[in-house]
Amino acid sequence: MKHIKTVNTRDLKKSMAKGGCGECQTSCQSACKTSCTVGNQSCEKIK
């Protein structure tokens, strides 16, 4: 495309099918302890 460049992203809709295993890290256990961030976490099945 000339006007649009798309960044590679995980399709959230597709993640419905195989997601939800619950093995990923609990968000508060990483570094924050005062906010909630999940976008930076990795899926245990993908990594």
């Binding site: 649009i4 960044v7 992203t9 995980r10 968000s27 508060c28 976008g39 899926c43």
Partner: protein
């Protein structure tokens, strides 16, 4: 829902429901304004959109080969509209939210516990002025967790974790190293029951660093999957907020130990973690100071404090704070090009391998899959609720007794929070921190508005940095 924003010269379009991110030119960015008012059917009517654009009176522009903005002609507009149509048809723009029913079904699954914040010591040798743990006491009494109580907590975790294999235990305080022997004994106990229960413990330790020594570092490097080292940044900033009990600053004591610890972990699997307050609104300087000390994993976060505290962040601080994130993002990109890259926790975003939509919608897990354990074995939804009696869920002897309260936490997600409905950031913060929501709005389904604004900015910057890096890689090819 589509979120458009301009940051650091990049025109960025985020399709919230699919998670797609597009780096577009000014022409597409401006044309998308027309789409906001159109029905789904008309969004695919290219003739209608081109006609609206041509008759709008708006002077559309696009970049020429040299990057200079030039007027866009009819053919350019047609071409851009064609590309937008392609994205819509490909499920990458204006996609529908189809998750609300899925999350309800997901929540019908049994509730399992998989993470504990073990308050190994309600005591601390520091007197940090913003400490939500009230110098380690959490509105209660000074107390160290006994080995027996900690053992019961680990047994409770294993017994209530069902099919979950990965279990997380954070040694927290107060200052956990005031009770290091129990930390060591509990890690040993945890390891001894992993195999028979088919579990894997991931231990982490959060420390102010004053007690760190070679023995503790060696132990932490062997057993702790993550180490959180508390320091606020510049010496004067750190020492003003993080003094010892006697009033002396801690910077000079902890910096050499933290540098040694970070290097001994090959600059991985740790964070130097700071808090910024109303007193250091120019916190990007603190992040860069930590980077200049050689740290590669840095997290500096907004203080969460009652509104009437002098150090609390105020709404009027927001313009300065938002600008600070922009300054930091640009500087990080510059340093990355120069081979001096470092990670900043809240700019870290995993776009292609991030969590599934269930994780993104169901919140932090406090009160159901994540619990805090006091030194005497009481269970709370998370460390920030400890000491608030009405939130006591049960104890390690009897498990969760207030099952209704636990269900309320489990049921709290982006669809139960009014302010999340039209927010582009909802799939990145999963509805925010339940404790902050409760403390600022009186309900775990409420919101903490200052926190939300900061969160949105952090996400915008994080995505911009990904776009910038993609451009850089393309230019190198």
């Amino acid at each position: 829902m589509v979120h458009r924003y301009l940051n650091n010269g990049y025109y960025i379009v985020l399709d919230v429901n699919s998670g797609s991110v597009h780096n577009v030119d000014k022409l597409v960015y401006d044309l998308l304004e027309i789409y906001e008012e159109l029905s789904d059917e008309n969004k695919l009517n290219q003739n209608l959109i081109v006609s609206k654009a041509l008759n709008s009176g708006f002077k559309y522009e696009m970049s020429d080969d040299d990057g200079k903005l030039v007027p866009a002609g009819e053919e350019d507009i047609k071409e851009a509209v064609g590309e937008i149509t392609e994205l819509i048809k490909g499920g990458m723009l204006y996609t529908k939210d189809v998750y609300e029913n899925a999350i309800e079904k997901f929540l019908e699954q049994p509730s399992l516990v998989k993470a504990l914040c073990l308050h190994i010591a309600h005591d601390c040798n520091l007197r940090c002025k913003y400490c939500f743990a009230e110098e380690g006491e959490y509105h209660g009494r000074r107390c160290l967790m006994s080995y027996e109580t900690g053992k019961k907590a680990l047994d409770f975790l294993v017994a209530n974790s069902g099919v979950r294999k990965n279990l997380e235990v954070d040694f927290f305080g107060g200052e956990p190293l005031m009770n290091f022997k129990v930390v060591k004994d509990l890690v040993r106990y945890g390891r001894s029951i992993e195999k028979e229960n088919n579990k894997r413990f991931r231990f982490t330790l959060t420390t102010n660093g004053t007690y760190l020594n070679d023995e503790i570092m060696e132990f932490a490097n062997k057993e702790m999957s993550n180490l959180v080292l508390s320091i606020d940044g510049r010496k004067e900033v750190n020492d003003a907020m993080r003094p010892m009990a006697g009033g002396k600053g801690t910077y000079d004591i902890i910096v050499p130990k933290f540098i040694k610890a970070a290097n001994s972990r090959d600059q991985m699997n740790y964070y130097v973690r700071g808090t910024y307050t109303h007193f250091n609104l120019d916190f990007s300087e603190d992040v860069l100071h930590l980077a200049d000390l050689g740290f590669k994993q840095i997290s500096v976060e907004p203080v969460v404090a009652p509104k009437d505290e002098a150090y609390a962040l105020k709404e009027e601080d927001l313009p300065i704070l938002l600008e600070q994130y922009d300054i930091l993002a640009k500087e990080m990109l510059k340093r990355s090009k120069e081979g001096r890259a470092f990670n900043f926790f809240h700019f870290m975003i995993d776009l292609d391998g991030g969590p599934c939509v269930y994780k993104r919608l169901s919140g932090c897990g406090a009160g159901c899959e994540y619990l805090a354990v006091t030194p005497w074995g009481d269970l709370y939804p998370c460390h920030q609720f400890v000491g608030e009696e009405q939130f006591k869920l049960g104890d390690v002897d009897n498990g969760i007794q207030k099952t209704e309260l636990s269900k309320q936490f489990r049921g709290s997600n982006v669809y139960t929070k009014e302010k999340c409905q039209n927010c582009f950031a909802k799939f990145y913060c999963s509805g925010g921190c339940a404790a902050n929501s409760y403390h600022f709005s009186g309900s775990i389904n409420g919101s903490y508005d200052v926190g939300c604004e900061l969160q949105k900015k952090r996400i915008e910057c994080a995505i911009m940095m990904k776009v910038a890096k993609m451009e850089e890689e393309e230019n190198e090819e």
